[in-house]
Symmetry: C2
Subunit: 440 residues, 2 copies
């Protein structure tokens, strides 16, 4: 029976001590004169093996070992195994293109991504995806507990209604369809279809040519839609509770992973204190913050005026929130009509009931209440250059009774990135896709 | 504060009884002489509204109602609401293309799929997706508990290595990629990368032209991969435990939905008793079963001999298992080499360590141990018409230390179909894709 690295101390403490079996990868080999040490790595951690003879091993080979566990305060984890037999299950070639046991801070992103089979063996890199698994688990658990139903919708959508910009085309038998940018119309369909509260965890696609540290062409979208809301404030309250739970779960389940990245997550009080700032006010805050930074640095040039909430403004608004409100999370609501899609629910003459969530300088969520009135939608379409006759599928959602509703989506990789403080969102994707990369 | 339909009896039992608010869809309207009844439907169930005046309502409109709850044994659910005010939130057009409150057994599949916003409002149809949500939740929970890590891998794969058959092509900037048929290579990468045990819930794509009650061109694949196994028997044991838990959870959380479909799930004892039958023996069982059926029916013609385990054989093997072993689930292992892909791990001269799981007449799982030896893979490729130089990405998984491993996938829609006894797998997909259908 195989014992995991994390359980060796317990096995060494048994009386009488019995022979155990461990298995994993050769992380390090050390010849200390008469004694040979091998550090073995498995999914749970590392353990030191002590061998009398010099083993014929290559780094990263997979081995199965039998031996007697023994407490040793000097060994990593506080125990070691005195090996009686060692079997090589899979011998690694000696020309490792990636040094698993080295400091990954010195390794370039391209090398990490090119060598996924090896780079993920590095415990620090692997920890990113342990955190991501917790995010997905906590997101789902919180929503189920709030009576949301998990759905899985098609990612192949008819291209006619959406227009080609930003969409990847798929050859679908004798026609063309597109990869869905978002499950939004389907989420809305499910609300109107009486599920009322739904969530989905699924890939989403953007055929954008940007190559920035904040963009992916394929990402995991954590999507929510909810019926019988009054305004975007109901959604913001939901997201606060949801993120608070996600942070708490990451703190509880991934404490070692957070330490590895020198990261902390906001506590519940900080999330609750997150400000909700209307768009125009948020823009003013960003400009004031830019001026403040310049003054602070003793710079004589005035900062360039920000005319909308661009990535630079997002960063500045978050700086303001962290300092003034004690929260790394800010909600900007009441986005002007011109920045939002046709389906955003109007608020006042020029605003909408829509919002973004900014976290540590980055937009991680866009959402809002949607227009649920059929006639109002038909009326607004031409102002956005759209024709009702091309939007029949979408309009059908509202024709036969649709409650007031809205929703939002969280970019899973962006949230992972910002929790751990990763420089590039691609680090938070197992197999990221960008304009140049479709492998591995 | 809104009260759900299922909680009206409790609200009626309070002392003193307070006015409450309910909201939902108009399911039925009844004019009983002086009294008017409206049946209101929300996500939790239905409740009877009593109005003094005839309301100006259309079926399926969304309304918000205030009134006093009162116990009434004759009302559905045992309580009703005496309405003091009724507000129409969204008026449904009168030309409903789908009768939500009618018996769906009489409705054709095309009509159900064409009118998803309406057909899902039918409680029986909606219950399919409540069961499916439980399947996904239970699948994930069981595996997390067994120390599996949830992963999300790319669905856009380089086409060069896989060959074009059965793949949908995607225009990806200035090149072509394909939609992944399975995350298998990525699951294997994750095992080799030290996660050891992984699972994924994600869409998978098959560009097959079949239009049968068992095929979908896009489906939700419940995928598993696991390191340090000895043979496919470890995987079969895992799947038995997993399905046993899924069935138990469905039984617990979806008892009403099972009743709606007149369905039962196998209990733990039945799953544990599921036979594991080697391929050749299973084929003989299928032929014997066919002969038995013919004899039983007094038919004079011999049945056509089955030469492989086709859909007809799957059905017959399950009939045998249900009768002889008391289990609706059968595992067929030791598939011949010629029926399995190049990566299947050999067993004996002509067999493989691979298996199918058949449930109630349908294959719901294919899996097995994979070849993990780099040289053995290189050697076997030409026999399958493949070239090592085109398989570099796949072969790289095994070059630097890969443990013995294997995995399997469960088709989520097929499992849902067979749990509820649905005639067509498309009924178990919210927005199914087939050769003709890409909408809604």
């Amino acid at each position: 029976m195989r014992v995991l690295a994390r359980d060796i101390v317990a096995a060494a403490g048994k009386s009488p001590v019995a022979e155990i079996e461990v298995a994993g990868w050769v992380h390090r080999i050390r010849d200390m004169g008469g004694v040979n040490f091998v550090i073995l790595r498995d999914r749970s951690g590392i353990v030191q093996l002590v061998l009398n003879e010099k083993p014929d091993l290559t780094l990263e080979s997979v081995v199965r070992v039998k031996g007697i566990p023994a407490v040793n305060d000097k060994a990593p984890g506080g125990a070691e195994i005195r090996v009686s037999s060692l079997e090589v299950l899979s011998r690694a070639a000696a020309d490792l293109p990636f040094q698993v046991n080295s400091d990954v801070a010195k390794t370039g992103l391209e090398s990490i991504l090119d060598n996924r089979t090896l780079s993920l063996r590095n415990p620090k890199i692997r920890s990113i995806f342990k955190v991501q698994a917790t995010i997905i688990e906590a997101f789902s658990a919180y929503l189920r507990n709030q009576n949301f139903t998990e759905i899985k919708t098609s990612k192949l959508v008819n291209s006619a209604t959406e227009g080609g910009a930003g969409l990847f085309e798929v050859e679908y038998f004798d026609r063309k369809v597109c990869l869905a940018q978002s499950p939004q119309a389907y989420k809305q369909t499910m609300v109107a279809a009486g599920l009322e509260r739904v969530f989905e965890v699924a890939p989403a696609y953007r055929a954008e040519k940007h190559d920035t540290p904040r963009h992916l062409n394929e990402y995991v979208s954590l999507d929510i839609e909810m019926g019988f809301i009054e305004s975007e404030m109901d959604l913001i309250e939901l997201e606060k509770g949801l993120l608070s739970y996600v942070f708490q779960q990451v703190n509880e389940k991934n404490s070692e992973d957070l330490v590895a990245w020198n990261a902390v997550v906001p506590d519940a009080a900080a999330v609750a204190a997150s400000p909700v700032v209307p768009y125009e006010e948020a823009l003013k805050i960003a400009n004031d913050e830019a001026a403040r930074t310049v003054a602070h640095n003793g710079d004589k040039n005035k900062p360039a005026r920000l005319f909308d909430i661009n990535p630079e403004a997002e960063r500045l608004i978050c700086e303001w929130s962290a300092r003034e409100k004690g929260s790394d999370l800010v909600f900007v609501n009441e986005f002007p009509r011109r920045y939002r899609p046709f389906y955003a629910y109007p608020k006042g003459a020029t605003g909408t009931m829509s919002f973004d969530a900014l976290f540590r300088g980055l937009e991680i969520t866009t959402g809002g209440r949607r227009q649920d009135n059929y006639e109002a939608l038909v009326e607004v379409l031409p102002k956005f250059g759209l024709k009702a006759e091309n939007m029949g599928g979408y309009l059908a959602i509202f024709k036969y009774g649709c409650p007031p509703h809205g929703g939002f989506a969280i970019g899973c990789e962006r949230l992972t990135q910002k929790i751990l403080g990763l420089a590039n969102v691609k680090e938070a994707s197992l197999f990221p896709r960008d304009r140049k990369r479709v492998e591995p």
